[in-house]
Subunit: 426 residues, 2 copies
Amino acid sequence: MMNYMSMSKEELLNEKEKLQKEYDEYAKLNLSLNMARGKPCEEQLDITEGMLTVMQKNEDCFTDKGFDCRNYGLVDGLDDAKKMFAPIIGVPWDQIIMGGNSSLNLMYDAMARCMLYGVNGGNGPWVKQEKVKFLCPVPGYDRHFAICESLGIEMVNVPLLNDGPDMDVVEELIKDEAVKGIWCVPKYSNPTGCTYSDATVKRLASMKPASKDFRIFWDNAYAIHDIYEDKKDELLDILPECEKAGNPNLVYIFASTSKISFPGSGVSCLGSSKENIEYIKSIMQMQTIGHDKMNMLRHVKFFKDADGVVAFMKKHADILRPKFEICEKKLSKELSGLGIAEWTKPLGGYFVSLDVPEGCAKRVVSLAKQAGVVLTDAGATFPYHNDPKDTNIRIAPSFPPVSELETAMDVLCVCVKLASVEKLVG
Amino acid sequence: MMNYMSMSKEELLNEKEKLQKEYDEYAKLNLSLNMARGKPCEEQLDITEGMLTVMQKNEDCFTDKGFDCRNYGLVDGLDDAKKMFAPIIGVPWDQIIMGGNSSLNLMYDAMARCMLYGVNGGNGPWVKQEKVKFLCPVPGYDRHFAICESLGIEMVNVPLLNDGPDMDVVEELIKDEAVKGIWCVPKYSNPTGCTYSDATVKRLASMKPASKDFRIFWDNAYAIHDIYEDKKDELLDILPECEKAGNPNLVYIFASTSKISFPGSGVSCLGSSKENIEYIKSIMQMQTIGHDKMNMLRHVKFFKDADGVVAFMKKHADILRPKFEICEKKLSKELSGLGIAEWTKPLGGYFVSLDVPEGCAKRVVSLAKQAGVVLTDAGATFPYHNDPKDTNIRIAPSFPPVSELETAMDVLCVCVKLASVEKLVG
């Protein structure tokens, strides 16, 4: 395959014509394919069927210690559920609060709590402060950015490198007292799939931000979401590193079973220092008498413990692996050597990140949409939907069946080539 | 029985000695009884057993229209669940947002949203305003008051009469622009059990508060929680009244199945005007991808519709009725004619409200506690835990088994008498 960059104008025009025809053929197919969101596919949902029957009788609704999960109580949830999560997120079980069906909700609530009450040992409610800024490694997760935007928190881009956020930039930015925290998806990052290196985790854990309000929002969404058994990224547990660095209260760690059991009906958790957890509980008890303990118990009965969860994840891996491999195969076959695209090859998580020539991402997404392939909006991986170079596209291969995914990737590759050639011919 | 008020000092001292002996006898029994919270009892929990098996297979997880409830999506929940609630709360189904397992959580979030964003058509975030006040009919629900206290909202007491809040007082207080709303438990009010009259509902619905931020927080927690089939309170639907009065956006209506299905694992909802609902949804979608739809579907499959829910409530009534009747029987037998106590005789809900002589409520609760009977803290039914006359005690008869309840009420009555005599002898 010839590199587009070394083509003459005439060659490019020929290529464009050829690509346009290919594109038009796809457009005629009336496709309706979706690679927009990190949604598990039906096959993945089906493997959790057994959870539907772990509690069938009244007597099944009690914990081993005899606690009745049907009634009110336990604002921070079941110990057994905490114990199931503890090894997964690297936090002692008694420093965990169980949430409802959504870790996003826990994260929003954590941020809202900072706004309304401030953090323990901090400078009071963030709403009372003139300006609140948050560091956002980019590309990143659109729903994190939406929380900040919604609450009026100014977002500051930080480049996300292959081993995590650019720590030189972070360490410079945290000298600003208005900077109150940083969003992190530390393992199989959304969307690049990178995992923070031990060195990055240690540097994050030992930061000395100017603001004592500073908190790391550690969204460990893909903690055990490996797709290969023999090669997987290892993430250093951050809480012990924070403790060692004298920053025990620096981090809030979030996780859920949304991509383990049922996406809309999993259980979530928040882990942190004893002091943070006590503080959060003291406010959270105004908000609820406690989240759904029946669903926590359902999870505990189905998975038993962390080992059970990890073993179960192999079933997800078996379903997801071929899909990631299709992405890689198609991108590699269609785009390698053209000089127009770079993409990631993650060992887990839910996304592949694709960079196209500057100023082309929106065009690619728009072309794909017109041909019936829905991608995440270009720009969504950046704060304020603003990808300064209009370069990044997030591919979410989990939801479509394999056959559809193949077609969707073919369409995407044609769109990338067409948009690139359009740009080159001017 | 002789009225304590007409006893001589000597008679009172004799009575006190007698009561002290009675009390000491109870204290020796090492009782451990609890009438503190409105918790359903085990028998009530058991009747929902059938809900545990309505979804056993993957194919059971779809709505009638084929929507897969296991996956992400539907920020405002299942239409079928909305339709189940609509007739119960008197709101068109498409003006309902389904929540998680707790209407308290919906209420807290609604208040937090007012603080952070303000209301649609209002004056912006309440946190930006110098002072925010809320009207609190008293005695009332401690968890409502806790939300206000936690968020720094100043609470203003309004007397709760037998037909609802004293509207003359309300109409005077809403002339203050800082007054942003009112808490209401309009049917079988917590703790008095009173139901707002049609006239009160209409007056509330047609209020013209000085602040355009004003919202009625209508916690219809006991909408269908009658204990008699032949005599029950009827509550006028407030939303149509608000519309008629030109105040369509005045009210937020909350309800849940916490005291219908499982207290810790029910489903909740928020109903309001189209405009309010759209506004709330626009913010709520930053907070969550949607609440647990599997649990919503479980409820829909178990109850079918609102009629199914209402029919089911008769089972709860059969369990609760005898308990309310024990309260009434004991209070009437032990305290009638003594001139020291008044109490309510509700036709539903979860509470009986008992007024003892001024300055005696704390003493009664403390005496009961020492004798092994835990009551709701005296003062809890007032903002800031401050019952100005130290008079009101909330009795929650639902949780203890009948035999325990009888004993607990005996103890309570002795404590009321003893505290009253103590006060009278000075």
